[in-house]
Symmetry: C2
Subunit: 221 residues, 2 copies
């Protein structure tokens, strides 16, 4: 990671994005530029630029003169992101399919196996993201891919919010079905499965701060 290449603003935005996604900073909490600046030993100018980047990714919300806060989210937004991912990943897959090689599909299968073996959410999420990236990247549509990346970041955030600690091992049949369809050159079937796959919304009871339990939702694909 050539982080020395990056500008300070980029470094800060990446670090903050990580914390927001992982849940280390709570939704709705304020991001204070001077505090962040002090933590990273910089002035607040790069911090403000980092805030603009987070805003663009949908991870933070800025109100003029009233500061920046970590974006909140609800079931509606989980659904929205799921549907956007379905639409865009299907589009990307259709364009990527002609350029997929056996080697790429093998790597994607490895990623699936890694996901199935994962004993915690974080490593499952990473493997899952790798799978999707591998089969979509050959579409060669940079704007589409970067939009999908932002949606994956949002997905991961929802996921970590719901499955903070416990995670049960599960084998991903969808990934396998997608790979098998692609290997047979059946792009339509692969696309259809992918579209259904990323719209599957998992549900899980979680304890709230007040001790009560409610259902949390997240995209699990």
């Amino acid at each position: 990671m050539a982080s020395t290449e990056d500008t300070i603003a980029v470094r800060i935005s990446k670090e903050l994005a990580d914390r927001i996604i992982s849940g280390a900073i709570e939704p709705g909490s304020r991001l204070r530029q001077d505090h962040v600046a002090e933590e990273f030993n910089t002035s607040h100018v790069p911090v403000r630029e980092a805030f603009r980047r987070l805003e663009a990714q949908g991870l933070a919300i800025s109100e003029p003169r009233r500061g920046v806060r970590v974006a909140a989210f609800d079931l509606g937004e989980v659904r929205e992101v799921a549907e956007m991912r379905a639409a865009l990943e299907v589009l990307a897959l259709r364009h990527a399919a002609p350029h997929l090689t056996a080697s790429i599909l093998d790597q994607a299968e490895e990623a699936t196996k890694a996901g199935d073996k994962s004993r915690d959410v974080r490593s499952w999420e990473e493997a899952n993201r790798t799978f999707h990236r591998l089969i979509l990247a050959p579409c060669n549509m940079p704007r589409l891919l970067s939009t999908i990346d932002d949606l994956h970041a949002a997905s991961a955030r929802f996921l970590f919010a719901a499955w903070r600690s416990e995670w049960e091992i599960r084998t991903d049949q969808d990934h396998r079905a997608i790979l098998s369809a692609l290997r047979q050159g059946n792009v339509e079937s692969a696309a259809a499965t992918l579209g259904r796959h990323v719209q599957w919304i998992g549900q899980k009871p979680v304890k709230t701060a007040s001790g009560r339990t409610r259902d949390a939702f997240a995209i699990v694909g």
Copy 2:
């Protein structure tokens, strides 16, 4: 337009976005922060934030320590934006359809008529954008709508680059077909037409700086 409400950075980014979209600033040309700052009578700090916003919209590209330049584009990107718009606008329409009222559809029809009467690209583009916004906004998916907005900005840029001056009047049958399908409650048909509609890429010979002619491409829907 309560531009006094906006922060200086937002005002600058809006103005620069306008110029980039209209073609007043050429693709590839550098945006120099001190020059922009001087023009807007500010320091360069808000200018830098404006640059980050333009970057997020895909209108500018920033290379660390080497400055920001207006994003270039080619036929591939025109196609990419067209396909993303098709996928996302269809999604938005499906969700908006149940909330569409007769009044909204009437307004959309007015927008279509305004487009048909337009004698220049700029007013046609505005009417077209109004039409799409009207029928999609009720989907109530803010993230989706803002992504679509950015894609419309890109579309407009391609359009203005191709049809800088001449524009021929044309009646938009697609818009009418979409409205009629929606009035009959036939969402699937409306969505299918919309998907085809925004992927239609117009082609037009334009004179290059060197006096030669080449084909320019743009999304015309």
